[in-house]
């Protein structure tokens, strides 16, 4: 009887610890919210082969929600560096996307730092694979540092700076 009770107690303890661990692991934190914005950015920027105009319009409509009022781009060898308004940036992306058959943007090694109540920085490795309409495929991998600001309860990208790993 006593042995059965202690076994039940052990089972309940394991269950309680597992539940507590799950709650801690799954609870939304600012770090996770910022990380999720990087996932959304990659998904909305990417283009699947044969993507229809409705899907593209929906993606571009929601892409703007990820950016702050002004976004600064500073990437090596990129002709479009500078400061853009949210609408300008979405417009540029909308014009670039049809030039490619497929675009695959992914982020790995994403490190999030919460700098304050409404500011965060993200350091990540960005991998961009584009398939041109003529069938050529190009790949570019860069380390990028992003700055985000929280506005209206949502984290928004306000700057993208490339980290120079190899300096000629």
């Amino acid at each position: 009887m006593k042995r059965r009770r202690s076994r039940q107690f052990a089972m309940l303890s394991i269950l309680a610890i597992s539940l507590a661990a799950a709650v801690v692991a799954l609870r939304p934190t600012e770090r996770k919210r910022v990380h999720k914005q990087t996932v959304r950015l990659a998904a909305r920027f990417s283009k699947t082969p044969g993507e229809g105009p409705a899907v593209m319009a929906a993606k571009m409509h929601t892409l703007g929600d990820l950016f702050a009022d002004t976004v600064v781009l500073n990437l090596t060898g990129f002709a479009g560096n500078g400061a853009y308004s949210q609408a300008e940036l979405v417009s540029h992306v909308s014009r670039i996307r049809p030039m490619f058959h497929a675009i695959d943007l992914s982020f790995v090694d994403v490190h999030v730092d919460i700098l304050g109540a409404d500011e965060a920085s993200v350091n990540l490795t960005a991998r961009l694979v584009v398939s041109r309409q003529d069938g050529r495929t190009e790949e570019d991998i860069r380390e990028v540092s992003c700055r985000l600001r929280k506005r209206d309860g949502a984290w928004r990208f306000m700057a993208f700076h490339e980290v120079q790993v190899l300096e000629r």
């Binding site: 790995v108 090694d109 994403v110 490190h111 350091n123 990540l124 490795t125 991998r127 790949e139 991998i141 860069r142 380390e143 990028v144 980290v163 790993v165 190899l166 300096e167 000629r168």
Partner: protein, 165 residues
Amino acid sequence: MMPAWVRNFFFPELKRSFWIRLGLVSVVAYGVFGHVCILTRNRGRSMEPTYADGAFNFCWRPRFLFSAPQAGDVVIVRLAGLRVMVLKRVVATAGDTVEFRDGYLFVNGKRQEEPYVRHRGNWNLPPRTVKPGHIYVVGDNRGMPMAEHAFGQTPVRRVKGGPLL
């Protein structure tokens, strides 16, 4: 009829000793293959012919634990983390002057013999000095256009090891 050792190997008795053994093997495998000897796959042709595109290898993290990378060493340089890294060869260290003339590498004004380079393009790069705490890394494939080849100086602290094979 299956021999006993085969049966024990593939269908072990789920005793406490089995779970302890399984746990230990998992922890050791995670430690070794996750942090010490990381499985990698080469992507890109910048290190050909030494390392082929698509080949598998391991990043041996302790490679430069007790010694700094020297000219001729192949190093693995991290980007934001360890999931995507860059495989290059060190051609010069801090204080050296690096230059390319007609595809040939010159370090401190002397032309370097590079037996690992099979194809040479017409690379030209004015002399530059490697900063303190940095190394200068270049891929072995000099046959590709210089504009498409990622090379240059990088902090030594970014070196995360060397290829095992």
